[in-house]
Amino acid sequence: MPPIPPRLVMRGIRKTFGSTIALGRVDLEVLPGEVHALVGENGAGKSTLMKILSGAHLPDGGEMEVDGKPYRPHNPLDARAAGVGMIYQELSIAPHLTVEENIVLGMEPMKGLFVDRKAMRARTLEALAHFDHPDIRPETLAGNLSVSALQLVEIGRSLAMGCKLLVFDEPTSSLAQKDIERLFTLIDRLKAQGISIIYISHFLEEVKRLASRLTVLRDGSVIGTRDVSTVTPEEVVALMVGRDVKDLYPRTAHQPGEKLLEIRSLSGRKKPIEVNLDLHRGEVVGIAGLVGSGRTEFLRALFGLDPMSGGEALVRGKNGAANPRMRWQEGLGFLSENRKEEGLALNLSIADNITLTCLERFGKAGTLSPRKQNAATAVWIERLGIKCQDPSQSVGALSGGNQQKTAFARLLEHDVDVLLLDEPTRGIDIAAKARIYEAINEVVTDSIRPRAVIIISSYLPELFGVCDRIAVMSLGKLTRAVPVEKLTPHDVMLVATGKAADLP
């Protein structure tokens, strides 16, 4: 009996765009029933590679095989016909069609001139049997379903085509915790049925949970493939960035100093409700909690972006007006969780974005020297490793990680005392995350003027990695902030989900 061929083989895949080499020579092998993780910085070539796999791009060289047969898709429909399905971050579901119409979209079973609705229903039910979700019925309008349910419909579409290899691109980025669990269970089940999965993620925990092997891409080349069970996070990050990373969460001893911020019974319009919190120089306080619990609203009200309905926030003992201009003057800086909608002016330059809060430092009497702006910006480009052409390049042209570094650099350039960070590492690659953790550690341990940080994150390992104290927001109420040594992630989750009233 001949040995079973791998589900997918990619050999020497090359792709160039103009003078840029997107992919050097990429080799990748995925076995039947294997979950294979693909990791790498933004711009490392993951998406180009997946576009080649799905037929959206043609490779310049190299060959591919699926189940031992040559595979050269010219478009996504080719790919699906050959058994390769893609589940993208942005779902491609038509909201005005029903679940079953979505599932057979583009490959509708026909009876003469008309769609064979009976066959369509049968195919749909077969696909939906993989996951029993009460909301997903063939006749439901897709627009009425939640994001997680739509993702399942998308997966169902690939399964209905008989796909044997599924590619998941950051599938958990828009899901709530319980939907993530449900997705993971489904992936386990698909794996058991012999379906192969390529899983792209910035979260090493997810990779550990699901995959058996991982392949690291850097600058368009495969750096290595490792067994997930034996590899350490530091090793993966080192492979990704090409330099040694001793500790993902660098930590020198923090020395809490003078009290910078005293928040007394601060309430917003609906949320938060009567928040109390003190913040001292040289400390990082984390705010955990579910999305929608009022964490973001708290920082926004504190910074004057949303109205405060009660309470006060004393900065160095003084109660100033809560509006962004005043807050910047008082030495507070806010990093928005939403860099595209709020954090950055995408068609302005990196220099303009970084210096927008303190333009008066770059010229007298209302004038402005772009040269000085660029010089100041060049410092941050160098120190944070922002990959760009020069300071006058528009921010929109940068990758997500580099955009986030730019937004973060604004706080550093303004030289604030208090950094209010709302999900500072959401959706960026691990290398960029590591840079931001380093920068946070640097500012709070500054020997002359240690700063203070409040950081909101949905990602508990991050909070436990960088914070001195953690408080949990639940239904608009914030617990006291407890030193991180006295906490476990479990304690935090209990409060966040309302199963416990307070931290131990």
């Binding site: 709020e342 954090g343 002016a345 995408l346 302005l348 209302g366 402005l368 660029n374 020069d390 604004r410």
Partner: protein, 313 residues
């Protein structure tokens, strides 16, 4: 620095090349295009739209729009002509007319900022209000300047380059510098590029918008002075539809209607391009309806080129 210069140079180069090509083509069809008279005529014809386009550029960069600008120009022309009939001195009339235009702009800005309504809707309304106000004040007939008043002729005519052309050039330089080398200029771009970011960064968004509309109104007032100087009357029905020419000039000049992009030099080049097309058509005996078709086509082409440019970047 260099990349930015290169980019802004390319942005300007597009409309500039278009201008040269169009001018060259008409010139080949009729060599009169190359005479000093015609060149001067094109420049002079551009002054009114060009001056107003400078203000419109600021508004469009800030993410707004002003459909009432044509009406403001006509109304200010009426105001200026009326003041001339009162025998006030020229400097006083200039200042009063510009101030009146600024007031109109302030009304636009105030309504937009205060009511948080789309400027498109607000200025669609004020376009009618200002137009109507001019007609009400004059009973619908033009206010003619007295025959002995010649002080305003050199602004839009007479021997040599009219003063209005010089004025437009000075304004282009002034506002070009304002946009690039002042804090206010950067704030205009920030507000138009992403209002939320501007708010987050402590920029007083309302104040920036208010100022931008007021400045644009003032420049429309100046354009009203010029239209009065050119025709020796204040006609409440003049400059009908001119707002579209002005907006088109700004867009041809590389501005994005979604805000955050644009240059005043580009806008004036855009205005020049449109005047050149009209003049060229007249000289070559192309009927007016065809002139409209050609002007419209150029606008569409400019927008298509703009999209392509963005996709490449």
């Amino acid at each position: 620095m260099t990349a930015l210069r290169l980019k802004s140079a390319l942005t300007l180069l597009g409309p500039f090349i278009a201008l040269l090509v169009v001018y060259g083509i008409f010139g080949m069809m009729n060599s009169k295009m190359f005479t000093e008279d015609v060149m001067l005529n094109i420049l002079t014809q551009t002054v009114i739209v060009g001056t107003a386009a400078i203000g419109m550029t600021l508004i469009i960069i800030a993410g707004g729009i002003d459909l009432s600008v044509g009406s403001i120009i006509a109304l200010c022309g009426v105001v200026a002509a009326t003041l001339v009939t009162w025998h006030l001195s020229a400097p006083v009339i200039f200042i009063a007319t510009i101030a009146f235009g600024a007031l109109c702009g302030l009304i636009n800005g105030g309504l937009t900022v205060g009511l948080r309504l789309l400027p498109f809707i607000i200025t669609l309304g004020t376009m009618q209000v200002f137009r109507g106000a001019g007609k009400v004040a004059t009973n619908g007939s033009p206010v003619n300047l007295p025959f002995d008043v010649t002080a305003y002729k050199p602004w839009m005519g007479g021997a040599g380059i009219p003063l209005g052309v010089w004025l437009m050039i000075v304004l282009v330089v002034l506002f070009g510098l304002l946009l690039r080398y002042t804090r206010f200029g950067r704030h205009i771009f920030a507000v138009g590029s992403n209002e939320n970011t501007a708010t987050l960064c402590g920029v007083n968004v309302g104040k920036v918008k208010l100022l931008v509309y007021t400045i644009s109104g003032a420049l429309a007032g100046l354009a009203g002075m010029m239209i009065m100087s050119k025709s020796s009357q204040g006609d409440p029905t003049t400059a009908m539809g001119m707002e579209l020419d002005i907006i088109a000039a700004v867009v041809i000049g590389g501005a994005s209607l979604s805000g955050g992009e644009g240059t005043v030099l580009g806008a004036v080049i855009g205005a020049l391009l449109m005047t050149t097309i009209r003049t060229g058509c007249v000289l070559n005996g192309i009927p007016t309806p065809w002139t409209e078709v050609i002007s419209g086509a150029i606008i569409v082409i400019a927008v298509i080129i703009d999209r392509l440019r963005h996709r490449k970047a």
